[in-house]
């Protein structure tokens, strides 16, 4: 599986990078970690004319923890999230989810921005972005813009990024102290893409669930916010009845795909089971 031919550039500034992308009318692609892109090139599923390497660009690999939230530069690698001690407390949901990404060697190269731009419906980072209502910073020939996660993911492997745009950063809202959360995914083997996964968090107000966020991966053509399930749970005590109601709502609100690893009805049941277990786990 040798790659088809392409040109390669490694610009020094982001403006140059944008200009290079713009110069090929949609036939240029960004490469950074390459862990999602290069396999596609190996299978000749993608055939860009030009690869623009972000290697030399500065300032895109910062992890910033501040009062207004957590910022991850697009070039931040999974191993860097793993090694960052402050992140564990600053955003435990993110750190837990990222633990499930791929394998050791991939984690040394794969990036936050790469995963978001690739937009695999079963990937963890897009799932966290959707669940926590993240904002994505994007730069293109028309300048800078900010996209909400809920607008960014358009479908399987499809985002709002124009051919000349580069994702530079993701901002997650600040994490509240005392927040309850859980992340559960089911994969056939450790490190595989999730068959289904759930990320959730909520606050407790007067013994009741408040402002619950529930996201699901692997059960649609993009990561999903389970608003219907959230509606069932907000304002309630987390007890067996609530969990049962939430499971029912989840079952009815998703339309999962089938593939060779799992048929749709299994994914549906799996997501429901994971949701119930995640809710129970969050209460501990």
């Amino acid at each position: 599986m040798k790659l088809a031919a392409f040109d390669y550039a490694s610009p020094a500034t982001i403006e140059e990078a944008v200009a290079l992308l713009a110069s090929r009318s949609g036939n240029a692609k960004i490469i950074s970690g390459g862990q999602s892109l290069v396999p596609m090139l190996a299978f000749r599923l993608a055939a860009p004319e030009l690869l623009v390497d972000l290697k030399q660009l500065q300032g895109l690999n910062r992890i910033d923890i501040a009062e207004d939230g957590v910022r991850l530069g697009a070039k931040v690698r999974w191993c860097e999230i793993e090694r960052n001690e402050r992140l564990k407390g600053a955003h435990p949901l993110l750190v837990e989810a990222i633990r499930h990404v791929a394998h050791y060697q991939i984690r040394n190269r794969g990036t936050v921005g790469g995963s978001l731009a690739h937009a695999d419906p079963a990937a963890e980072m897009p799932g966290i972005a959707i669940t926590s209502e993240a904002e994505l910073m994007i730069v293109g020939s028309k300048g800078k813009r900010i996209d909400k996660a809920s607008d960014f993911f358009k479908g399987s492997l499809s985002t709002s990024l124009a051919p000349d745009e580069i994702l530079t950063e993701i901002k997650l809202p600040p994490w509240l102290v005392g927040r309850r959360w859980a992340f559960l995914e089911f994969a056939l083997r450790r490190g595989d893409f999730a068959i289904a996964g759930v990320a959730l968090y909520y606050d407790m107000v007067g013994g009741n669930i408040a402002d619950i966020h529930i996201g699901a991966i692997g059960v649609g053509d993009r990561p999903l916010r389970l608003h219907a399930v959230e509606a069932v749970l907000n304002g309630r005590k987390l007890d067996d009845v609530a969990i049962e109601d939430a499971a029912k709502a989840a079952r009815e609100s998703i339309d999962p795909p089938s593939d060779i690893h799992a048929p749709a009805e299994y994914r549906r049941a799996l997501l429901t089971t994971l949701l119930a277990r995640a809710l129970r786990q969050s209460a501990v």
Binding site: L188, R190, T273
Partner: protein
């Protein structure tokens, strides 16, 4: 007094490791010849169709492309791959042509070959070859067998049906107290060795040298020479380091012909390496069977007979050993149990999928799944303890040699040679600690249902007819050992050196083993059916005896005595107080060649036990403990054998839970990468234990050894399914199909739950 060598039985560290660990192995992808070109193969993207035409003009116009070969470039008659095993004339119509000839019959069938400056250019060129195929209806399942004929002249898609028979099954079933029927399926999966296949072929005008041989180089050489119309002596196949075979690598594939043919046509060395996607559609698939079987028993659990029908989905052609698996499913279904009456029909169905061949324990993995499931079902229905049922049915050592079912056509009979099945069974249960673990059976603990299972198996090995070894005492006093056996990673160099050291009494460090090149011995057979140790090792023993005679004869002349009076002592010949170093015996190397003939299979055997925990909500199965015990008669190197056993078991676990080559209704192979074809990783099955015993030597070879190395895989599917049934017995979940993937286990649980609900509703009059 010198202490005699005793290398046999010791866990000697392997010589091969010294180069493998440093990255200094030479695998075929590491072989390069001056001026070499690289080939890529265009493969059919349709599963069934008539080849109307191929236009390669655009590809040929590309810079760096030298040649494009199609069926038109070969003689009128495209040579075909002949069967190496069970070469029945009625199977001849189904031999695969070396390149697609008028029809394509599976996705992946070679249609054209590009020769170019680099692999990348050759691959680029594939996109520019236009192939005109008129699609035909696709057959991917037994039910569709009438949709289209793969070989119109034959009139059916059933290539052949084998029959395994013993005694009188109909009579046994008539008089049985109990008959149980089962319908089983095992999924298509494959050996999936880590090193992709490859060749480097070089034709110098007189000799064709091909690097990349494995397993059965002598047979392949004969077939290649005949296909290219060259004398055998003009062809040399060289085996370099080989990255795993498991029964699948080394059989003759279309590429074994195409690459050398290309080298001969273009007049420059040609190199080819498959990539993994190619491998998945080109290398032999295996194991896809469906079976409808009945078991007949007495009330006390004594099994009286087996009767039924097996269908093997063998893909689009019958390849070199495509008949082995289907025959074995029928012939070995009785396993280590004394079942006197057998009537099993095993049909080979042609479909528009990749052709199949042997994969470790061919037919045995499948048949043990079927049989062990039937035994547990029988035990449940008759309310007999599962262990007791098996004990009542084992063949006793006193009954050996015990004939197994005969198979026809290509009649073959075999008999179990020796074995104490009860002892190994009990040993396994003891080491596994069945007594303590039994309490967990069916219990729900921390969200998991626990289950146990035990199963026994036989492992045939040491296929004949023979093997050759050549020993050369070099002038520097070292001993070179040339073998017909091949190395596929099993530690051949080390094991054969151990045998040679003990047989010649020469120092282990002075022995060098060379294997697998067709120039090494006159006629070798190779590595398959767990034969190398028994066959190659026994050939070395024979050759060593001859060598010692030669040394004595030469020594006698120089020492002034009779040959019988010469004492051999490590590296010296002695008479009285006169000694002579081996290195000084002759100015020339001293060479002997010997063969070992054998037509009796050896039968290693064993028992495995497992403890699982099942998450009924997700279908996930955790293997908490796995214990394997096997008797191989005599162990040459316990470390390498133990390694093979663990590796084999993990392959079995892959087959039981994870691995599946999936086709869609159009014959497209959906499993094209390691992201879809899931194999076990280091975190999947951490707890596996194994013991090797040497209870019963094999009476049929001088080593007393039985072929081992495949055994581990054989019982895995059966005991896993049984353990899951045991765990979920409160729901009466009965897995009848592999793989036991989470979605399938979940579906069984759901189906069982809804049956319970239906029954309850019925009872409540709803």
């Amino acid at each position: 007094m010198r202490i005699p060598n005793s290398y046999i039985g010791r866990p000697i560290e392997r010589t091969e490791d010294l180069r493998f660990l440093r990255g200094r192995g030479t695998y075929v992808a590491d072989v390069n010849r001056p001026r070499q070109l690289t080939a890529a193969i265009l493969r059919s993207s349709l599963a069934h169709g008539r080849l109307r035409g191929i236009n390669a003009s655009r590809a040929l116009a590309m810079p760096g492309v030298h040649r494009v070969l199609t069926a038109n470039d070969f003689d009128n008659e495209i040579p075909r791959i002949a069967l190496r095993l069970q070469p029945l004339p009625q199977l001849a119509p189904f031999h695969q042509p070396m390149i697609a000839d008028k029809k394509v019959r599976y996705v992946g069938e070679p249609v054209a070959l590009v020769v170019a400056e680099t692999a990348a250019i050759a691959e680029d060129a594939l996109d520019f070859i236009e192939v005109d195929i008129e699609p035909l209806p696709v057959v991917v399942a037994r039910e569709q067998a009438e949709a289209a004929l793969l070989f119109e002249e034959h009139g059916t898609n059933c290539a052949i049906s084998w029959k395994a028979f013993r005694g009188d099954a109909d009579a046994a079933f008539k008089e049985a107290d109990y008959v149980r029927r089962g319908h089983f399926k095992v999924q298509r999966h494959a050996a999936m060795f880590m090193e992709p296949r490859g060749f480097v072929a070089d034709w110098d005008g007189q000799t064709l040298t091909v690097w990349g041989a494995a397993k059965t180089a002598w047979y392949n050489r004969r077939l290649l020479a005949a296909s290219l119309r060259l004398p055998i002596e003009a062809v040399d196949l060289i085996e370099v380091d080989v990255g795993g075979g498991f029964g699948s690598r080394g059989e003759f594939y279309p590429e074994d012909y195409l690459i050398p043919a290309a080298a001969k046509l273009v007049g420059r060395p040609v190199k080819w390496n498959e990539d993994r996607r190619e491998h998945m559609m080109a290398a032999n698939h295996a194991r896809e069977v469906e079976c409808e079987v009945e078991i007949a028993a007495r009330r006390d659990g004594r099994v009286l007979g087996l009767r039924g029908q097996i269908w093997s989905d063998i893909g689009a052609y019958v390849r070199t050993n495509g008949g082995v698996g289907p025959r074995n499913v029928a012939q070995y279904m009785s396993g280590p149990y004394a079942i006197e009456n057998i009537d099993l029909k095993s049909s080979m169905l042609l479909t528009n999928k990749t052709p199949t061949g042997t994969y470790r324990g061919p037919g045995r993995f499948e048949t043990d799944f079927i049989r062990e499931r039937m035994l547990d079902l029988l035990a449940k229905d008759l309310n007999i303890d599962r262990l007791e049922l098996r004990r009542r049915n084992f063949v006793a050592d006193s009954q050996m040699p015990y004939p197994l079912a005969s198979i026809t056509p290509y009649d073959s009979s075999t008999e179990l040679d020796s074995g104490d099945y009860h002892a190994v069974f009990d040993r396994c249960l003891a080491e596994f600690d069945w007594k303590t673990k039994e309490q967990f059976s069916g219990r729900l603990i921390d969200g998991y249902y626990h289950g146990l299972a035990v199963g026994s198996f036989i492992e045939g090995g040491a296929a004949g007819p023979k093997e050759e070894a050549r020993l050369v005492l070099e002038t520097d006093g070292t001993l070179s050992v040339y073998l017909g056996s091949s190395s596929v990673g099993q530690g051949l160099e080390t094991i054969m050196a151990q045998i040679a050291a003990d047989a010649t009494e020469m120092p282990y460090e002075k022995i060098r083993v060379r294997h697998g090149s067709t120039s090494h011995v006159k006629e070798g057979y190779g590595a398959y059916h767990s034969r190398s140790t028994v066959m190659g090792g026994s050939a070395i023993l024979r050759a060593a005896e001859q060598l010692k005679e030669r040394i004595r004869a030469l020594g006698a002349k120089r020492l002034g005595c009779l040959a019988e009076q010469v004492m051999l002592d490590g590296e010296r010949a002695r008479y009285g107080n006169r000694t002579l170093r081996f290195a000084d015996l002759s100015a020339f190397p001293i060479e002997v060649e010997a063969e070992f003939l054998n037509n009796k299979q050896t039968w290693a055997y064993g028992t495995h036990a497992v403890h699982v925990a099942v998450d009924a909500g997700t279908g996930r199965v955790k293997v908490l403990d796995y214990m394997a015990v096997e008797d191989v008669g005599r162990t040459i190197n316990p470390a390498t054998l133990h390694g093979q056993t663990i590796g084999s078991i993990v392959q079995g676990l892959g087959g039981a839970f994870l691995e599946h080559l999936v086709y869609d209704a159009n014959g497209q192979l959906l499993t094209g990468s390691f992201a879809d074809y899931l194999m076990p990783t280091a975190s999947d099955f951490p707890k596996i234990r194994s013991s090797i015993v040497e209870l019963k030597r094999c009476p049929n070879n001088p080593l007393g050894a039985k072929g081992g190395g495949e055994g581990g895989i054989i019982p895995v599917g059966g005991i896993m399914a049984n353990a899951i049934a045991d765990a979920l017995k409160h729901l009466d979940v009965q897995p009848m199909e592999l793989p036991l993937s989470p979605p399938r286990i979940w579906a069984l649980v759901e189906a069982a739950k809804s049956q319970v609900t239906t029954r309850l509703e019925g009872e409540n009059g709803k």
